[in-house]
């Protein structure tokens, strides 16, 4: 069983509980002064060489944001955030316009190497790390603090007609596309953090897959917060035209620090007739230490719209990081017969808090949605599943199935399930089930009796518990996610 070997290796390698992505890269940074005001927004916009409409859009969002108050309904607690005490723009200082990877700061490349993210296409193609054929090449967009530093495999993608580039570049190069779709799924005023993001977003990825094209490789964005006292506000927009499909993965890490840093991203997905988008996340922001000092506040708005008939959006997430998570990847099922899926594993340990789930809004006829959420709480952490299933009057024949399972490890943690079920159509069928339990003594005994250590046994059981979700991840990432689960739960047993 390779999964078990993997898990065991991961534990052995790590020994002590640690966050191995916690290093800081010493790199020359270009930073805006602390604080948030119209001038800062103008500065961001001018650094990004944005057209006038983009600046106006940002300023309008900023106005909206100023009139809004922070939402308080999530089951998380954290000290008040001083929005003026952060840098809203931080970029690695570079010579103007690196045309190839050779021009990228070698320190940066080393950072991504340490993170295990190969930015050198040749190395990957030549199979230096993994024998060729065993692993599909993955196109990567690497975002370092506020800017995208490298995007790989762009040539291959261009040949297929797929646009995959930093969103700041898309604003300049493909303004019509960006303008047509930006803010249509998550309007600037949708919530406090989406308004903030719309005003100050710095980078992120833009994906456009034209009609009938099946994207030839996995697309991936890797987000890294590096600089101190910064917030990260990335913006991702994925548009998939009729009959096209794409699979996209995002990963994220940050250095270990005592202070809390804010990450407020917005992700928008648009799927036309018969299009399909698979969006996978392995979220591993620094979670803070065992006493809850430091860590990322992860307040993210992710939403996809199935505009076309028979379109499909599938969210898969493995959430192990962040001090506080507040995130509900959602699907608006507008097209007739469209499908929304949400598969989630959320792990909290130590003092972490997560309030996460999904929203499935059924608008069209015969729309279907599936929600599988697995929550694991350990240490002194609190984890909440919060999900909404809403069936509007026109969604005849809509169908939802929801399953939420929570696993508690230790007697100082909490696991909560808060589903909202709203049906306004008699021909819709909704089923929801949820369970909460601890790891069964019998299962543990069974494993121990066969010579597994307690930690290994727990790892095995946890992997089994999460299986329904992990199997939805692209293969390479499933392995990574499995390791991550192990590491996140270390020290929580015995």
């Amino acid at each position: 069983m390779p999964a078990v070997t993997q898990t065991r290796e991961a534990v052995e390698k790590l020994g002590q509980s640690s966050y191995k992505w916690g290093f800081e890269t010493d790199i020359e940074m270009d930073m805006a002064p602390k604080g948030l005001n119209e001038d800062i927004i103008r500065l961001i916009s001018s650094r990004k060489e944005e057209p006038e409409w983009m600046l106006e859009w940002r300023l309008a969002a900023y106005k909206t944001w100023q009139a809004m108050t922070e939402p308080k309904w999530a089951k998380v607690t954290y000290p008040p955030i001083d929005y003026q005490d952060a840098h809203y723009y931080a970029a690695p200082r570079k010579k103007p316009g690196p045309k190839s990877l050779d021009e990228v700061d070698p320190e940066l490349l080393r950072t991504y190497e340490k993170l295990g993210i190969p930015l050198h296409e040749q190395a990957m193609l030549a199979g230096v790390e993994v024998p060729e054929g065993e692993r599909m090449p993955v196109a990567v967009d690497a975002v370092f603090d506020s800017v995208s530093v490298a995007t790989t495999f762009r040539k291959t993608l261009e040949e297929a007609g797929v646009i995959f580039c930093p969103i700041s570049e898309a604003v300049r190069e493909h303004p019509d596309l960006v303008r047509r779709y930006l803010g249509t799924v998550v309007p600037a005023g949708d919530n406090f953090y989406s308004a903030l993001n719309s005003a100050v977003f710095t980078d992120g990825s833009f994906v456009y897959v034209p009609k009938g094209v099946r994207c030839p490789m996995e697309l991936s964005t890797y987000f890294r917060i590096n600089a101190k006292n910064t917030g990260q506000f990335e913006r991702t927009l994925i548009v998939v035209e009729e009959g096209a499909s794409v699979s996209y993965l995002e990963g994220c890490t940050a250095p270990m620090r005592d202070e809390n840093q804010l990450h407020a991203a917005v992700v928008e997905l648009v799927a036309m007739d018969d299009a399909s988008i698979k969006y996978s996340t392995v979220q591993n922001w620094y979670p803070g230490d065992e006493n809850g000092r430091g860590g990322i506040y992860n307040f993210v708005t992710k939403r996809g719209i199935c505009r076309g008939a028979r379109s499909k959006i599938s969210w898969t997430q493995v959430e192990t990081g962040s001090a506080v998570t507040w995130k509900y990847p959602s699907c608006i099922l507008q097209g007739e017969g469209s499908v929304g899926e949400f598969y989630s594993v959320a792990v909290t340990n130590n003092r972490q808090q997560a309030d996460t789930g999904t929203k499935m809004i059924h608008l069209g006829r015969n729309t279907r949605s599936t929600i599988i959420a697995k929550t694991i709480s350990a240490g002194h952490s609190d984890s909440t599943y919060r999900g909404l299933v809403r069936v509007q009057p026109k969604a005849s024949g809509a169908r939802n199935f929801t399953q939420c399972d929570s696993l508690l490890i230790g007697d100082q943690c909490g696991a909560h399930t808060v589903p909202y079920i709203e049906s306004r159509n008699m021909n819709a069928r909704i089923e929801h089930e949820a369970t909460t339990s601890k790891i069964s003594e019998d299962q543990l005994f069974y494993c121990r009796q066969r010579g597994l250590s307690e930690e290994d046994a727990v790892g095995l059981i946890v992997n089994g518990f999460c299986r329904d979700v992990l199997k939805e991840l692209p293969m390479e990432f499933a392995v990574e996610a499995q390791k991550l689960l192990q590491i996140s739960l270390e020290g929580s047993v015995g």
């Binding site: 309904w73 508690l408 909560h416 079920i421 929801h432 369970t435 909460t436």
Partner: protein, 426 residues
């Protein structure tokens, strides 16, 4: 005493005249809390699905001193009539929130007194946390104070609340308290009915002491225009059993809110219910079941049948505190929508801080099953009748959980009397 008049806005203003002339520190404190919070709107998470706009625009008057005796008697006979056995059981009747001795048959073997003579507010219901408890605290006039002495099986007691109003709305706010002492037993059946436009805003404070059992069935058949907003607190001791069921048939807007606390080991709580609503009715069953000790069991089954433009709300929270290891909790909410305009909003919620627990909940929403209908029709049963059979069967799975056979029969009879022969085709 006009301290609050300026700060009372929204639906609270409909009570301002009465709230401004209160005597007594407790009532004034409650009115003060109300003036600060107002009556809840949809921004209150606990009131997300139920709006108090239904209270309307007209002031709520205090009930008149005299009520026509014949009207009250007819209402009482009407509501008990579906099951003749009910008419002879001991009962305490309140009309517009005031004890009506002429209609009552007081029970033996229990301590009985009335809030009007002995105004004790009890400890569980906190006006500063719940605006509707505050409204009750400020305006309560009367209520039943019932104590079953240790070791006594008190049999059945009916608590009947009748609202008698005309077109101009009035409100009454009875404050009841029920204590079932150690190893004692009581079967309490609450029946709510009435005519005209009124607000019924009861608060009931229940204590089930160690080893005691309270079987509690509530039948809500309020007047078509009535609004009923009740809050119930139950505290259950070691090996105590609080087994409750509510049958909701409306009013215009009815909310039945239960806070049950399993306070000592091996306590058992059931908070079951069924709603059968149509027209423009809104029915809300909200519960918070708190496991505050280890080895306790809670069960909840709620079934909703919604026709016409009716809207059903279910909010059920199960809270398991850190100390409550070995908790066994189960909750199921199911809804049947009979019409294209009916709506259900459900929020089953688990909040769990102990690890050695077995808790689960489920929820389903759907229409009548075509296959089941086809099965019945293929055996020669007309469509209308077939639908009725399926609806009855759906509700009966909840009603069957009522342990008290008399109360169970009563629930079925009330349902049958109300819906017999009424077509369900919409």
């Amino acid at each position: 005493m006009n301290a609050f008049s300026n700060s009372m806005s929204g639906p609270l203003a409909l009570f301002a005249n009465r709230l401004n002339t209160l005597a007594g520190a407790e009532r004034q404190a409650a009115a003060g809390a109300l003036a600060r919070t107002g009556l809840p709107d949809r921004k209150f998470e606990a009131w997300k699905y139920t709006a108090l706009r239904a209270l309307g625009k007209q002031d709520y008057a205090a009930p008149p001193a005299q009520v026509d005796a014949g009207t009250a008697r007819a209402l009482l006979d009407g509501v008990l009539q579906p099951h003749p056995a009910m008419a002879t059981l001991p009962r305490v009747v309140f009309v517009n929130g005031r004890h009506a001795p002429a209609l009552s048959i007081l029970p033996d073997g229990v301590d009985l007194s009335f809030f009007a003579h002995d105004p004790r507010f009890g400890l569980q219901a906190a006006p500063d946390r719940d605006p509707l408890v505050a409204l009750n605290t400020a305006l309560a006039e009367d209520g039943l104070l019932l104590r079953v002495p240790a070791g006594v099986d008190a049999g059945h007691v009916l608590l009947v609340s009748l609202g008698v109003a005309g077109v101009a709305p009035l409100s009454f706010h009875p404050r009841h308290a029920v204590v079932v002492e150690k190893d004692a037993r009581l079967r309490l059946v609450c029946v709510q009915a009435g005519q005209g436009a009124y607000l019924h805003n009861p608060v009931m404070d229940i204590r089930v002491e160690d080893g005691a059992t309270l079987e509690h069935v509530t039948v809500q058949a309020e007047a078509a225009q009535a609004i009923s907003l009740g809050t119930l607190y139950a505290h259950v001791g070691h090996q105590g059993v609080y087994d409750s069921f509510v049958l909701g048939l409306g009013g215009q807007l009815v909310r039945h809110e239960v806070h049950a606390r399993l306070a000592a080991t091996r306590a058992v709580v059931h908070v079951n219910g069924a709603q059968r609503l149509g027209g423009q009715q809104v029915g809300d069953i909200t519960s918070v079941i708190t496991h505050a000790a280890s080895d306790c069991t809670s069960r909840q089954t709620v079934r909703n049948v919604l026709d016409g433009h009716a809207r059903g709300v279910f909010q059920g929270k199960v809270l398991v505190e850190r100390i409550a290891q070995k908790t066994d909790g189960y909750q199921m909410n199911q809804a049947l929508l009979l019409s294209p305009d009916a709506e259900i909003d459900a929020k089953p919620e688990l909040e769990i801080y102990a690890d050695d627990v077995r808790c689960s909940h489920g929820a389903t929403v759907g229409a009548l099953d075509d296959d089941q209908l086809f099965y019945l029709r293929s055996r020669g049963i007309p469509e209308q009748e077939a639908r009725q059979i399926l609806i009855d069967a759906f509700l009966d799975e909840a009603i069957a959980l009522v342990a008290d056979a008399t109360a169970q029969t009563f629930c079925r009879a009330v349902l049958a009397a109300r819906f017999a022969g009424k077509g369900e085709l919409s």
